[in-house]
Symmetry: C5
Subunit: 319 residues, 5 copies
């Protein structure tokens, strides 16, 4: 689907205009959105707009990293939207010309629709319109990046939850949660870090140098991405610390289990041996004839076990 809007010189917005009329002199600038475009519709990028073949190839093939290319008369941006459910990325391609903004994406995106509707529906700050397509592009990028925050917040909330809940759950369950969080953080970083690098390159390119207003806007997005990237790094370190603390917890428990086993074995083996000895069938075993031999042996066993438990206590095994 291709949809186009034209903004007239007196800041009126007309949506649903045909593609052919976007060069019309009555429009100050216009925005064409390729939304889930079919193969024929995609050909308009070449036939109607005459964009560079490398840029068009980048639109049609997925698996690009966020980037900016400067072509004669327009800038080409590849951006990444983030699906909050699956944390998969969706590519958004922007061509920013002087009088036209062309956006191209393979799937319908709520963020783009929101910007589209907000532009179509309400009067705009007149000063901002001076560089119309540029400001609209800023609004799209801002909407995409704002979408990252809830994804990172969700991870941080679960992490806080995990830190508090501590030992209520079994270590195995906690471990799985930690590894799940780590893998989600990796996915988020795969999107956010290249976007941050892209914004950095845009801010430091000569194309934007010296223009105060656009710098401020992009610097704002860059600040958000910096913050997000830092949160992700810190969260990765926190999950690593949690993992290590669970591993050491596990190892402590193992120690406890082994101590129990050793104490039980050490206490009962000698007693069992004594019982075994007096169960032997030798013809001549004088103790067996003693009147209170049986009680003497029971007493010996009792003393022996008390002494061994004291020995363990003294070596600090029950601390």
């Amino acid at each position: 689907m291709i949809r186009a809007m034209g903004i007239t010189h007196d800041h009126k917005v007309e949506t649903g205009i045909p593609l052919e009329s976007i060069g019309d002199s009555k429009y100050g600038w216009s925005w064409v959105d390729f939304n889930e475009a079919s193969a024929e519709e995609a050909e308009q990028l070449d036939h109607f707009f005459h964009f560079h073949p490398l840029a068009i190839e980048d639109c049609l093939h997925v698996l690009q990293r966020p980037k900016v290319d400067y072509y004669e008369g327009y800038e080409f941006l590849v951006l990444h939207a983030l699906d909050p459910e699956t944390l998969n990325t969706e590519e958004v391609n922007l061509f920013i010309g002087d009088k036209v903004l062309v956006s191209f994406h393979h799937r319908r995106l709520k963020e783009i629709d929101d910007v589209w509707n907000s532009l179509a529906g309400r009067a705009q700050n007149r000063k901002a319109w001076a560089r119309g397509p540029f400001v609209a592009a800023y609004m799209v990028i801002d909407a995409l990046v704002d979408q990252y925050f809830p994804c990172v917040y969700a991870v941080e909330d679960e992490l806080d939850e995990l830190e508090k809940q501590g030992s209520r759950e079994s270590v195995e369950v906690l471990m799985n949660q930690v590894f799940d969080l780590r893998s989600r953080l990796l996915k988020l970083r795969r999107t956010i870090v290249p976007m941050r690098d892209l914004m950095y390159r845009i801010l430091n390119s000569q194309h934007i140098q010296g223009e105060k207003e656009p710098r401020a806007y992009f610097a704002d997005i860059h600040d958000h991405l910096l913050k997000l990237a830092e949160m992700i790094e810190t969260d990765r370190e926190m999950t690593a610390d949690l993992r290590d603390s669970y591993i050491s917890l596990n190892s402590n428990r193992m120690n406890g289990i082994m101590k129990t086993l050793t104490v039980i074995t050490t206490v009962f083996m000698p007693l069992t041996l004594i019982a075994g000895i007096y169960g032997m069938n030798f013809a001549y075993m004088p103790e067996l004839e003693w009147r209170y031999g049986y009680f003497a042996v029971l007493g010996l066993m009792g003393l022996l076990s008390i002494w061994m438990i004291f020995a363990f206590l003294k070596r600090g095994w029950f601390k």
Copy 2:
């Protein structure tokens, strides 16, 4: 609450002046502090001061990273104060103009109050007043950063304590302390490293270049933050070393426990078997009839156990 102070040209300080009089010609410069400002009060940032909407948005929304933005006629700083109890961060926003300093923070902060009172209460070094709002901003930042030191010192003290106390506590308790220290160091780093980067950017920006005096002041704060960041990094490595040493201590203890278990089992199992054999009820077992069979078997058991203990000693198990 909004409070304002004006400094007259002859360096007298008047506090509690109304907002409208801060532009008054009798004041050399003035400081307006938005302290736990209500929504209506916050609107004065726009209505009265006409600050840039991006900067005002940064004031009202929390979760910014420390940063500096250069606007026409004023500089906008986002800074982080640190709550020494919880190590949570509190944002402080400063607008530094030529004749006015505006500070904005959501919670009452002791550090700001201290600077306010010190300014209101005592005569100032006259030379410093030449760039009044700037120097006041320096005093605020310095007060905020000075607040970081006790937080880091507290961690270092506990770390020293931990290194000394060594094996008195159980490994599990020590481990928990180490992981608690690591998580506090992470929180501190989250505040201190962005602040350090901010100071670095301010020092290297063209806005301050060439001005000797302010450079010296900010370089001083930057040095403190560098020192803090280095302390945190070294402390993180020390906690990592401590954690590894506890893990290896645990593993050594496990070895000791397993050795005990194995020695006990190895010594007693054969003895028990011998006792079991002579407890069998076969009709024809010649040893049972021997006069000193019983004592011979007891002697055999004693020799066997002595030999096994020697074997373990020789293999160095009790070292």
Copy 3:
């Protein structure tokens, strides 16, 4: 084998021309390919083309890293092709002059053949021919880098498979797969990272500075290599996480095994001792004469084991 093609000024391609005619004025430019060249053929690099001895030495000796050297009148590139089966690297050397491209490689490579055939077989975009050898070199490099993608995809697919399949396989098998993936990722990185660095150096060298068209082409390859290098880094971290999760899974299982052992030992050892005690042959053991002594002891054993299992349940050992 040496093969040569000449491209005439009216963009006709003639293949199989003799080496001597490549300087012929009827050709706009030409491409000479040294494919599995014999020692005598390799001498043509010196005798016919007079390339620099250092460059020729680099051709003949393997184990170079990807690099570019700028000589008088030509550029010399060392590139790496990747064998998708073994992930071994194959060197491709390119000499890019104004009117001639010379490629040199020790083994027949499908990628080079493909570019050769595509050039020989179809009409070309005329504009691109302006810098003929340069564009042909771009096509070769692009073909080599495109070959990296399936290698990395294969690793990523196995990694996804591994993450999903989880606990169906034994930990030992999963571990071996993880370590195999890690070693393949290391091999891939050994090729891809130096290639990325090479493209970066080419993009930032003064030799390409200011020429818009070639920059766009090489920037495209650089983007692909950046993406590949990032994928490899993320995949290495994912395998590290998987490895750690398997190790912790192993340690959890060990805990479970030890618990089973300890419970069994703790329950049965006291019972065995009791049985041993009443198997002793003392002359006077009053319990043995009791009518229901036997059943009382059996009951005692039952109660004891139930109590011990409850104790373990209470301490959460079966969670």
Copy 4:
């Protein structure tokens, strides 16, 4: 204590001169050393020398990082001496003016005394005197840095010792030595790395740029610090490797212990069961009546244990 020396224009050294005479025209330059200065003596930094308040504050407060500040007419350096026993740092502050060097330190330092005495006692290279205070400062810094070497050598010697001695000591003792070395390396790095960074900043500052002679001297100190920092990094990695090798050694030993336990248990448990079975008191147990039943059972036990030991041998447990 404050002590001062003046160097006359004809290169004679006069020590013990009063502070007031150091500006005297007969001296080419002079050195004032504040050694364990009292509070009143420290005030001379302000009253007599009029140094900048920020620099004086840095002198009086400890816990600075090494740094250089450029003030009007003098340079201010904070340096770190290292106590070879405790590896604690001691601050040395230098003010380097055109005609005076002022050193300030809280504790008597052998390194400073050595430089002082060597200056006071022997005729100097005349050429070097052209920039007197500067060269004296170099001598002080060189003496401080030379003091670092024995500290690092001591660690390296112990490390070599540790690598050779290997398995003679118990793992627990070796581990403690490794962790002690690591913590000493961390302490050394805390001093040496900031000193290296300081020298780097001095070498690259505009204040020294272009002056060949001083550059060569500071480059020499910088080289020493680079070497030291590299040694420390390599030593940290070697200790990490040693630690990992000890951990794996421990884990191997644990395996050995568990194998012993398992073999013993596996061999003796079935034998004990057999003995137990023939110890049962059933009225009708035909084997008990056999003439050679007892010997048959003993033979069975022998065969069983030989077979089990063979089984373990075959599974490679004793390798």
Copy 5:
């Protein structure tokens, strides 16, 4: 030993000339080699050549890092040779003047001898002689760096061997090999990385800037060192992976051992208890009187053990 060679203007080489004649006008340039120089010979560096005292000090004292210093009229290089047996480093110092090359080393080095003999023995490429001492220095450095390759190859070969051989050796032996390889890689890195950094600094210094020919030669050495440094980094990561895989192998084996122990204990303990129960000497135990009580108990034991083994099978313990 000091030896000198002079190269006449018509490219004849005269060796064994006395030190005094090296400034002779008949020689285009000369090379003086201090080979295992005695203390008196070393003094010629000062007396005859008047080199800078800092450079001479660097010659005489060992433990320098590779570096280049630019003095008036000559360059001073400290280089590292590598002993292929012990991987210890040997320092080589070069003074490169316009008309003289002075090399200084404490031990006889095969690499230096080879270059010396190759210069003395054969006619040289005349073009290269234009900058005689410089090219000779290049030959020395190249010979030293070429010596590094067999050292790194030896490590890589052992590493490949180790990867293939896998589980044939005991884990303890493999581990020791891995740790030995890691320590050799550390030693190699200690030499190669500073040499790489040195070459980088030479390539980027202003002293060589703009001179095409020497750049190409040093760039070649730099490429070799880059490749070596990358190989070492990758090899360190491979050894780390191998170490981790052995540790996990060990942990898997431990699991197997513990399972064996647990299965044996779980199966035999209940059987032993049953045998013990029927070995008790109670006066009234009805089962003992049953005709087939003995066989019933044997059957019960059989069923119990089969059931337990099935239970373990079902829980997947023998997978």
